[in-house]
């Protein structure tokens, strides 16, 4: 298959990003912003599966392709980027740093779509990294102290994750002997390789204890950016695990145990932390963390019991899509809420916000509830030991999410997020509502889009009301104040290196003194020696003595030896002696 569609899909956002550098092109680019993911979306929706194309000369042999799983990811990711782009276009209209935002936004988009299309490890990494790094600019965008702190934390985790991923991929490729992800999946990768890749991807996914960056970052980024960060980009971690790890083929019991334990902790710890937040977007961030805990349960079960993976995989994809759309809607809705001026409009938006909030919390028959039920069903194929725990955890996660949502709704009123001064209200409302719609319609649409993969969802029970109800009840009686703070890595580093630096300084000064002394000595010594030798004529006297000794020897040897010398040894004797004279003595 030709490479062209893939290149087009990725080149459009990239070219738009580059075009932003020219001031003349900027307005056009902003107008194009919502449509940047369209080629990729079109490819996913219209293309015949499976697609595959390769360019050996690119990077380390670039391979693109789409299969059923990645196609679904492209669809919901693209959709989210479209909505966020549409929102960003208005959100950023009067922003002084709009260009910077635009470039980063589009770069991240390129990376996000690219990694979904990539079929080899190097390219996956090649797209994963720009996405992560470009997001740094998105998180930092407002330049407020919070944003800077969040960005610093974010970049630290990104670097950590990238390194782990790099190492894991390097190991994996070395073991598989191939870059192709299918080969990676087919190989029994070693434990460290899998562990490293999992760490790298879990950072993105925000599984505890690698989640620290996520809530502050999602809270600090501008609304459209938070939407894609929380909706689209963290799913890259999930996608990475699905596509790179040999799930369903090899048993990794330890990894699975850790993953599930982390998932369970994540679901509930995120609740405890999240309800202390005052910023609504940070609350949403924790909610994302909590939701990712659910995905982690699925992944862990798959790692532990490969046979269950076939059942778990479609559910996980569905849950990812569900979370992407609902969380995207919530973030964009936060923006829409902030943009409203009148209390009536605010109320209306709040009501609209309740829809995705309940979807997320798992109101029966909503995508959230269907996903969880389907997951429970899928777990039946998994480890029987863990099954009851998982079921309980899934059910209780509904309570947790409900509580978080409640906190969120309270907070948008108590601590309303900021919005640009002259933003067009309708314009930011529209993408929000579109996503709300998509989120609500997901269970219905999924069957059409996902085909055979939709089976577990369509067969899932509608789910129970009690977790949501319990959550709402609890939320009603809860009021908590919280504070969170941390210290930056830079301070830490300075503290660590301080004694070393002091030591080096001290050593330098001592060395310098020693060197000065040595230099003085080096100057003085030869001079003194030279002068002494000169004054006492040491050399000459010594030589004189030596020569005198030689002369004595000579006197002993030569003069006595002379008498003993046989006449025949005197060549001169055979000739007239006068001939020995130099010419000028000639007679």
């Amino acid at each position: 298959m030709s490479l062209a569609p893939f290149v087009t899909a990725l080149a459009l956002p990239l070219l738009l990003a580059l075009a932003l550098i020219w001031p003349q092109a900027r307005s056009l680019v902003w107008r194009m912003m919502p449509f940047a993911p369209l080629p990729a979306l079109a490819l996913a929706l219209l293309g015949d599966l499976p697609m595959h194309a390769q360019a050996d000369w690119m990077i380390l042999g670039l391979q693109f392709g789409l299969d059923e799983i990645s196609r679904l990811f492209v669809i919901f990711t693209g959709l989210l980027w479209c909505a966020a782009g549409a929102s960003a276009r208005h959100w950023m209209r009067h922003d002084a740093r709009a260009t910077s935002f635009g470039v980063m936004f589009l770069m991240a988009q390129t990376g996000n779509l690219g990694l979904l299309l990539a079929l080899d490890a190097a390219s996956f990494y090649a797209f994963f990294a720009p996405m992560s790094f470009a997001s740094y600019g998105l998180v930092l965008h407002s330049r407020t102290p919070q944003a800077q702190g969040a960005a610093r934390l974010y970049i630290g985790f990104v670097v950590l994750g990238e390194l782990a991923l790099f190492a894991g991929l390097a190991l994996a490729v070395a073991q598989a002997g191939s870059f192709h992800v299918a080969d990676l999946r087919a190989t029994a990768l070693s434990d460290p390789a899998v562990a490293l890749m999992m760490i790298g991807l879990c950072v993105k996914l925000g599984i505890m204890p690698l989640h620290f960056w996520l809530p502050p970052a999602h809270g600090a980024a501008p609304v459209p950016a938070s939407a894609v960060l929380s909706g689209a980009m963290i799913k890259a971690g999930l996608f990475g695990m699905i596509t790179l790890l040999p799930l369903g083929g090899v048993t990794y019991a330890d990894h699975g145990t850790v993953m599930m334990a982390a998932g369970m902790v994540t679901i509930f710890a995120a609740l405890l932390l999240g309800v202390q937040q005052t910023s609504p977007k940070a609350v949403l961030g924790y909610s994302s963390v909590s939701q990712m805990g659910i995905l982690a349960l699925g992944l862990g079960a798959g790692l532990m019991v490969p046979q269950a993976w076939v059942a778990i995989l479609p559910v996980l994809v569905f849950l990812a899509a569900h979370h992407a759309l609902a969380k995207g809607a919530l973030f964009l809705g936060t923006g829409a809420f902030a943009a409203q001026t009148g209390p009536a409009a605010k109320l209306a938006v709040t009501l609209a916000l309740l829809l995705p909030a309940f979807v997320l919390a798992g109101l029966p028959a909503s995508s959230g509830a269907l996903g969880k039920e389907a997951l429970k069903t899928a777990f039946n194929a998994g480890s029987p030991v863990w099954l009851p725990w998982l079921t309980v955890a899934l059910s209780l996660s509904g309570v947790a999410t409900t509580l978080l949502m409640a906190r969120y709704v309270a907070m948008i009123w108590l601590h309303p997020p900021g919005a640009p001064a002259k933003v067009t209200q309708e314009a930011v409302l529209l993408p929000f509502l579109a996503l709300v719609g998509a989120s609500l319609a997901l269970p219905l649409v999924w069957v059409a889009v996902a085909g055979t993969l939709a089976a577990p969802i369509s067969q899932a029970a509608p789910g129970a009301l009690w977790p949501v109800a319990l959550g709402v009840a609890m939320a009603a009686g809860v009021a908590i104040h919280a504070h969170a703070q941390r210290i930056g890595p830079a301070v830490f580093l300075a503290q660590i290196t301080a004694p070393g630096r002091a030591l080096a300084l001290r050593a330098d000064s001592i060395l310098a003194a020693k060197r000065r002394a040595a230099r003085r000595l080096a100057h003085a010594m030869p001079k003194a020696i030279g002068e002494t030798a000169m004054r006492w004529r040491l050399g000459q006297t010594a030589i004189a003595g030596l020569i005198a000794l030689t002369l004595l020897l000579e006197a002993g040897g030569s003069l006595r030896g002379e008498a003993a010398m046989p006449p025949a040894a005197q060549p001169g004797a055979a000739h007239p002696p006068g001939h020995m004279l130099p010419p000028y003595f000639e007679p």
Partner: protein, 96 residues
């Protein structure tokens, strides 16, 4: 002790005295004179060479060498003395 041995040892001794003077003396003129002594010592030694067997027939080669040596030394002494004078003049000028 044969005369040649005495002669030779004297030459060596004279050379040695001159050598010590030439190297260790400080006065310029003394050093020139010491060098002259060296030269004389060397001359003695060469003359011993003419004494060789058969003792009755003197070998003229060493004589020629000695004469050459003396000529060379004379010119060297002249140059040295000229330099010493020149130096004295310069020093006198500097002191004035």
């Amino acid at each position: 002790m044969t005369p040649d041995l005495i002669y030779g040892l004297t030459g060596i001794a004279v050379f040695g005295i001159g050598l010590v003077g030439a190297l260790c003396a400080l006065d310029r003129l003394r050093r020139v004179l010491a060098l002259k002594l060296c030269s004389v010592g060397a001359g003695f030694l060469l003359v011993v060479g003419a004494w060789r067997a058969p003792p009755g027939v003197p070998d003229p080669v060493p004589h020629a060498l000695v004469i050459t040596g003396i000529v060379v030394m004379v010119s060297a002494t002249a140059v040295a003395l000229a330099l010493i004078r020149r130096l004295q003049t310069l020093e006198a000028e500097d002191e004035r």
